[in-house]
């Protein structure tokens, strides 16, 4: 049997920061100062990236196929919006936490639905749950504004100090900070023994149950966490745009985030972020040409990805591998070093 220390070392190696990762985040922070004119769109990237990160936790790590992840995103969006519109809290951060918590509770409640059945069952149940929420938000128009969307949201200054400006500088800094913190937490999570067991469950669920991993409990845990992440992403969207409408719960949003994640590649956390960046920038570039038929190109991208595999994902995956190899060689060099020490 493997001792805890034998698991701890590879995990620690894997958790070490690679060069590319550092570069990635340095570049992200650099955009704060170097690209002030692009902050509005970069805020969108950060929100979408966080949402895709949330999906990555369940799809890329635990292998749960969901067509209704927008349920949690929308729940968070409406929670944050309602809290602000009725001036329940005057602090955006509190709204963010509340939205994440409510989405997580809803995730916990609906997680029993994804434990049973096949991929198809899960697909339909998650889709059904999202549609139920959308219908609910539509019918409760005295609360949510129905099809007109939730209006009259005025965001108080962040931390009581930084008011949200029209050019979106504060909003972007805020979104990026939230994304980075949530990313760090996710990174810690997937590099823990818990994260390792999720990968094992994805690879072979039956065998995991046989060697004593509590499969159901772990799936419930990760589903709840991912729901909270999605809720926070939704809250960020509402807070930065000061608006929430029914399409935050729509099927298209669930499908979009799936595309984003697949584009970037699931299972190494950066996939969602890279996919969000690529998709948003391409969309921004093409929107003037074909705003109305944008969906067609999304569809075509999905078809091509499935039929031919995609360059972005391969590039991302090989970058991820290179990063891991870099840190792995460093790790093994250190191990050789320490053995030499021990031999003396």
């Amino acid at each position: 049997m493997m001792a805890a220390a034998d698991i701890a070392r590879p995990l620690a190696n894997r958790a070490r920061w690679g060069v590319l990762e550092t570069v990635f985040w340095a570049a992200a922070i650099g955009t704060l100062f170097l690209a002030p004119s692009r902050h509005l769109i970069l805020t969108q990237v950060a929100v979408l990236g966080l949402f895709a990160l949330s999906l990555d936790l369940i799809l890329g790590y635990a292998g749960i196929l969901s067509l209704g992840h927008a349920a949690f995103f929308g729940l968070g969006a409406y929670t944050a919006g309602l809290l602000a519109a009725h001036a329940v809290t005057t602090e955006p951060l509190l709204g963010l936490v509340a939205a994440g918590a409510i989405a997580a509770v809803f995730g916990l409640l609906t997680s029993v639905l994804i434990l049973r059945g096949s991929d198809l069952t899960r697909l339909m149940v998650t889709l059904g749950v999202a549609l139920m929420l959308r219908e609910l938000a539509n019918k409760l128009d005295w609360l949510t504004g129905g099809a007109d969307g939730l209006q009259g949201i005025v965001m108080p200054p962040l931390l009581g100090v930084f008011p949200f400006d029209i050019a979106g500088h504060v909003a972007y800094a805020y979104s990026l900070a939230v994304l980075f913190i949530m990313f760090l937490l996710a990174r810690r999570l997937v590099n823990s023994p818990f994260g390792l067991s999720l990968r094992a469950i994805k690879a072979n669920r039956l065998r995991c149950a046989a060697i004593g991993i509590a499969v159901d409990r772990r799936l419930i845990a990760i589903y709840t966490i991912a729901a909270g992440y999605a809720g926070i992403a939704g809250a960020l969207l509402t807070q930065t745009t000061q608006f929430a409408s029914l399409d935050v719960l729509g099927f298209e949003r669930s499908a979009d985030v799936l595309l984003v994640l697949i584009l970037g590649g699931p299972g190494y956390l950066y996939g969602g972020l890279i996919g969000a960046l690529v998709l948003t920038l391409v969309q921004d570039g093409l929107i003037n040409l074909t705003a109305r038929y944008w969906q067609f190109w999304i569809g075509l991208a999905l078809v091509i990805i499935v039929l031919g595999g995609d360059p972005v994902r391969r590039l991302g995956a090989s970058l991820g591998r290179a990063a891991r190899r870099l840190s792995a060689t460093r790790g093994s060099a250190q191990m050789v070093e320490s053995r030499r020490e021990a031999g003396r």
Binding site: L65, M132, F251, A255
Partner: protein
Amino acid sequence: MLTILFDGIAYGMLLFILGCGLAVTLGLMNFINLAHGAFAMAGGYIAVWLVNRLGVAFLAALPLTFLFSAALGVIVERSLYVHVYRKSHLQQVLFTIGLVFMSVAAVDFLMGSEQQFIQLPEAFKGQFNLMGVGIGRYRLLIIAICGALTLILQFVLTATRFGSRLRAAVDDARVAQGLGINVGWVFAVTFAVGSGLAGLGGALGTELLGLDPAFPLKYLIYFLIVVAVGGTSSITGPFLAALLLGIADVAGKYYIPSVGAFVIYTIMVVVLIARPHGLFGRVTAR
């Protein structure tokens, strides 16, 4: 009361014709085809085009629609879908969602985003009274056509050689292949018929369900419910499920409009939790 029941049955039968192809493809190839509604939409638009622009008689347009959708199904199946059968469910989902998005945008581009109306012959308009029950002529037509088709399907499936091959392939495709049944061919034929029926349903449903480019997304969940609740191992399962769904939806919208579509989503989720293989399905060994 009875009128609602009647409307519900017409609606349910329509849903069955629209969705039965999906049940077979899912059962036979274990293939998640979310783009099924796109074939129905294609049928609907072709019917509108035939009747309104070319002046083809409504009843004559229906078989043409069937043939067109079936041909479209064969082309798409042989050229695109065959590459996806062996891929994972995730990839199948992505692929077919992609096709849905493309079809929605393409129809929007070609035909415009507004709702389409089909010119019905005068004989099918309005309703008449039968022992105090208001019966819509068009709905009666739908029940007649869909009922006849259901009987034919049931006959083909249970009493012909092709039907028994199909059932064998659904039960266990590998063993069927080993016994000399050309499963790929059986599947292509079935897919064509399923797409054709979906197209026919789309044409018939223009009047009842409405027809606009968002059709495949709007009714996707209904098709999935028919399959999920009915199971994929027979056509009586989806048939009963479609009838139940139709009646529940019409009654729900009539009696408790404030809750609306909420009812059917709840029913679906509850059924799927209680019986993951469907209300009328049976657990297969796979």
